[in-house]
């Protein structure tokens, strides 16, 4: 699978937040993490809360710099890329949209064009065309004039996705894309990811604690536990009871999805107690 240079490569990466000792500091948030994502893959990073998923994403987008190790994009260290250069390669759909100022959907999506012409004061016609295509792909074209604070959670999520698509990145990173979405939008988001990957050849990095979503859409999974790589492999290899239980610290049952055949993870809920 790994022919040529991988698109993303973490080489023995460690990171410690500068947190004071008394607040649980000095601990590493990531320790010796190594993995590679090939171009064209849909790759998932999963794990329990505070396993280091968000830190990993921030290291990739150079919001943070590793304490040790190297993060490479297409063979080049991310620290050597100028800001706009990195943003032309990697686009992030964040978990939540902060919204003190209600920009319109179209204005938001056009912001994705910034790395393609940072010196321009206004976007040009080509930028507008790309933005429209991105809005159509994410299903928010008819919402263009609406301010963000008038959108539902699902619509806002799709607007953020359209902004990321407008960046025309090689790698699309999604941070907990279904956290606030109901079932219908979860299904739509999964479908959209698969389309973007299949039709545009975009590599997708999905960061999620939704194991079932990750199992459905990802080619390979990286399971993080306490900042270390617990397992890398296909969903069938990673989503096994013996692998998951020590990482999540609870009893787990894995079976197969009735239609897709991919693994589905269940918590082994305690049996209800008889009331006295």
């Amino acid at each position: 699978m790994s022919a040529g240079i991988p698109l993303v490569e973490f080489e023995d990466v460690s990171f410690a937040y500068p947190v004071p000792e008394e607040r649980g500091g000095s601990g590493f948030s990531l320790t010796g993490v190594s993995f590679a994502i090939d171009a064209g893959e849909v790759f998932g990073v999963i794990g329990p809360n505070s396993a280091g998923k968000t830190t990993l994403l921030r290291l990739l987008t150079r919001v943070l710099s590793p304490t040790r190790g190297r993060v490479r994009l297409d063979g080049r260290g991310v620290e050597s890329l100028v800001h706009a250069e990195l943003a032309r390669q990697v686009a992030v759909v964040p978990q939540e949209t902060p919204r003190p100022f209600p920009f319109s959907v179209e204005q938001l999506v056009l912001m994705g064009r910034f790395p393609h012409g940072p010196a321009r004061f206004f976007e040009n016609a080509a930028d507008h065309a790309v933005a429209r295509t991105a809005m159509a792909a994410a299903g928010v074209l008819e919402l263009g004039a609406l301010p963000l604070d008038q959108l539902s959670g699902g619509e806002r999520q799709r607007a953020m996705l359209a902004r990321a698509l407008a960046q025309e990145p090689r790698l699309l990173v999604l941070d907990e894309p279904t956290a606030h979405l109901d079932l219908r939008y979860q299904a739509e988001t999964a479908g959209l990811l698969q389309r973007v990957n299949a039709e545009r050849g975009m590599t997708v990095l999905l960061v999620s604690h939704d194991l079932d979503l990750a199992a459905q859409v990802c080619d390979r999974l990286l399971l993080l536990g306490r900042g270390r790589v617990a397992r890398i492999g296909t969903p069938a290899e990673v989503l096994q009871r013996s692998v998951l239980e020590p990482v999540f610290g609870c009893e787990i049952v894995v079976d197969a999805h009735p239609t897709s055949g991919r693994p589905v993870v269940h918590v082994a809920w305690p049996a209800p107690l008889a009331r006295r």
Binding site: A87, V92, P98, Q107, G112, F114, F121
Partner: protein, 338 residues
């Protein structure tokens, strides 16, 4: 309509309104000149020492220029601080930055600096330093991991404002009052005519600050999504914040140095523009320059005519408009975020 076209239309409308307000400001006043007198003075057909010439060219015209410059600079500073702090209620006076600059100016006056060309530069430097000191203090007090919340930012602005206002009172109390003649009037914000050389310096500083904010307008839009998102979109957030911070301090400091700490222009004007034009800083920054000029010139024209032949300080008028407006914003639009 594209953003560029909307900007052109908005600037045309505001430019026409500015011309109207300038004409009104030149023609009305307590001197009781007729329209014909003013026209004669403006066209140079009145004697240079005639009453109409002195009133129109040496009193009203510089005052109009100072008001337009100060209003524009304050409104742009408001947009800059709002973008920088991602807080729609931020403004030089609310943040205590005006008070810091005022402290610098009082200090400069104690050292004997006046409004001659070179000395006014010294006053501006003191005001700039005061503005930077106050803004840095507010930021240091309010900054918590994850950004600046509306409550802590407003509170620390109030605290820093009170501190510098008290410091000014101390200075005034311990220094011989004659050396600080007019300082109380100036502290309320006033448009007393300033010499042409000082006016020119004011224009250079204010337009310099405006240019820095305008250059940053597109990136300020991205910063509204949060610093992490801005970095991920290719913005050098650290450099951007430093540039806008310096520009906003420069704008505030120059206004305070030459006309006094005038409040609420940076709140009222940007919000009226946001209501019409939306949140795009590329539209807000240039239109705020013109609309701020209109607002402060209108306020000053009211201030010098409403109780003529006496006159009110223009800061009183802007505060009378701004304070209720602030309460309105706090109680309606931003209640959810508090």
């Amino acid at each position: 309509m594209s953003a560029a076209r909307r900007l052109v239309v908005a600037l045309a409308v505001l430019g026409a309104a500015l011309v109207v307000v300038i004409v009104i400001a030149l023609f009305v006043g307590s001197a009781g000149l007729s329209a014909g007198d003013v026209v004669r003075a403006l066209t140079g057909r009145a004697g240079s020492s005639s009453v109409e010439s002195v009133v129109t060219l040496q009193l009203r015209l510089p005052r109009v220029a100072a008001a337009v410059l100060a209003g524009g600079a304050l409104a742009v500073a408001g947009v800059a601080f709002q973008g920088l702090t991602r807080n729609p209620l931020a403004e030089p006076a609310v943040l205590g930055v005006s008070s810091g600059a005022a402290f610098g100016v009082v200090l400069a006056q104690i050292f004997g600096l006046g409004l001659s060309a070179l000395q006014s530069l010294g006053v501006a430097v003191f005001a700039f330093a005061g503005a930077i000191g106050a803004a840095a203090a507010v930021y240091a007090i309010a900054a918590v991991p994850g950004g600046l919340s509306i409550q802590t930012l407003l509170l620390s602005g109030v605290i820093v404002g009170i501190f510098f206002t008290s410091a000014i009172t101390v200075l005034i109390s311990i220094v011989d009052f004659d050396r600080l003649g007019g300082v109380v009037h100036w502290l309320l914000g006033n448009m007393a005519p300033i010499p042409p050389s000082a006016l020119a310096l004011f224009a250079v500083l204010a337009l310099g600050g405006f240019w820095l904010v305008l250059r940053s307008a597109r990136e300020l839009n991205l910063l509204a999504l949060g610093e992490e998102a801005a970095v991920q979109l290719g913005v050098n957030a650290r450099r951007l914040k430093r540039r806008v911070f310096l520009a906003a301090a420069l704008l505030t400091g120059s206004v305070v140095a030459f006309t006094g700490p005038i409040g609420f222009v940076g709140l009222v004007v940007p919000h009226m523009l946001r209501g019409v034009l939306g949140q795009d800083n590329r539209l807000l920054v240039p239109t705020a320059l013109v609309a701020g000029g209109i607002f402060l010139l209108a306020a000053d024209t009211v201030a010098r005519n409403i109780v003529a032949p006496a006159e009110l300080s223009v800061g009183v008028i802007t505060s009378f408009c701004g304070a209720p407006f602030f309460v309105y914003l706090l109680r309606t639009r931003y209640q959810a975020t508090l």
